[in-house]
Symmetry: C2
Subunit: 289 residues, 2 copies
Amino acid sequence: MATHRFDPKFTDNVINAMGPKTSPRMRQLMTGLIKHVHDFARENELTVDEWMAGVKMLNWAGQMSDDKRNEGQLVCDVIGLESLVDEITFTLADEAKDAPTATAILGPFFRADTPWRENGEDIVKTKPGDGEMAYMHGQVVDFTSKKPLVGATVEVWQASTNGLYEQQDSEQEEFNLRGKFRTDEQGRYGFYCLRPTPYPVPDDGPAGKLLELMDRHPFRPAHIHIIATYSGYRPLTTQIFDRRDTYLDNDSVFAVKDSLVVDFVPRTGDPQAALELEYDVKLVANGSA
Amino acid sequence: MATHRFDPKFTDNVINAMGPKTSPRMRQLMTGLIKHVHDFARENELTVDEWMAGVKMLNWAGQMSDDKRNEGQLVCDVIGLESLVDEITFTLADEAKDAPTATAILGPFFRADTPWRENGEDIVKTKPGDGEMAYMHGQVVDFTSKKPLVGATVEVWQASTNGLYEQQDSEQEEFNLRGKFRTDEQGRYGFYCLRPTPYPVPDDGPAGKLLELMDRHPFRPAHIHIIATYSGYRPLTTQIFDRRDTYLDNDSVFAVKDSLVVDFVPRTGDPQAALELEYDVKLVANGSA
């Protein structure tokens, strides 16, 4: 029964317009989406001007997006949706006892065409003057047996100290601070990178406008993105966060989890880097419960 | 209290990130939007792939949109949101006793740069072979006093018989089937147009994809769009629907209201048109209750 003063049949009419060939999952999702969108509009007595402002923001997001930038995703990120969907995925996997390493959002700056690099390589192709060099390394192992996974893929990406990923910054060499590594015979990977630094998400589009309207800062705590994959295992998308960062408690995209916070430690005897981070990745075989 | 098994603080954290300078209305709308979007994701255990498919649809809508096409609006239309916002506006105005003529959605094909035309002019600049000509005319009056409003603006637009508005169809002269008229000394307007015909909304973008996924037809019942304005009066946006249309009960954008259904009648002695539609518009003065 309707608890509002608008046409009580309107929402059901829209939902019931779906035909018999709609898939069950699509019917479930569209029913939920239509109900929530309509309830939102009625509860707040949304005006034509407000709705139109929303349409303009969404169109603007699409117009800014291309193969190097995904503004629609960033708009979702600043209202916590990507992190929430990640939490849902992780919680369901955890209940099924298969979530060994906490996941985190992909973010809008992933590039599918990132090149392969050799273990031990330096991904800092354009070195910023204020960058601190670090050697990041670790092992990819099977979650249950702890056996090293040989030939697993570890893909990483990070922003430079000016807060920009290479595709946002014409001063950076293409694919700077990105790389795909294959684990060696001991399941090990390793590369030189920057100690990550906090940065604001891009604020020249609708996501930035939303943050401004919500009187929020755009900063993300310092982090490195990781995707690890191995044939026959569930792929893992995550981020690791530097414990010293001041934005750990108020990430603009709500992605921080305690188990993803790591410590960079001093490294001695290496002229290439004064810091070190050891980080092991545990993957779960498909079908294991 | 959370009734789900996910982080019970997550949604409040996102809402509470809003700073003190957020306007009260923005805080209300974003609080409602974040709650509904998060509830939608949790209730349906939205997956990363499903969320990403949604982001792609929204970006695609923006990429298709320009000054002649608004696909983000069309996506809202097929889930009933524009019609719902219109109903909310109309209901609130009606409760305030100032809604003499039912409103309807603007739709994505309005053009702000539509040219002025003379009363009695034919807006059918590119005549389709299967078009039926009609003379549409009427008076714009003050709702309360019934006094004619001299010099009021009546703007109209309609699709051709192939279902396309002029900006969608390179075969149609620019501004075909559109016009802005000023009422004469008796408050009268009049022009030749086509008897409107049903047509499908464009299905080459995300709105069409959504309709397909929901197993719905894309047709709108035959209609003519109208915007009427007069200085010191509330502007009116509406559509009128031809009673003979088979899609009156299942408009793909849910815009039909009984009071907007009109009858075309035979017209005699006019070589330019065999049909006629008389339609008066009642406007309400600003500030009248």
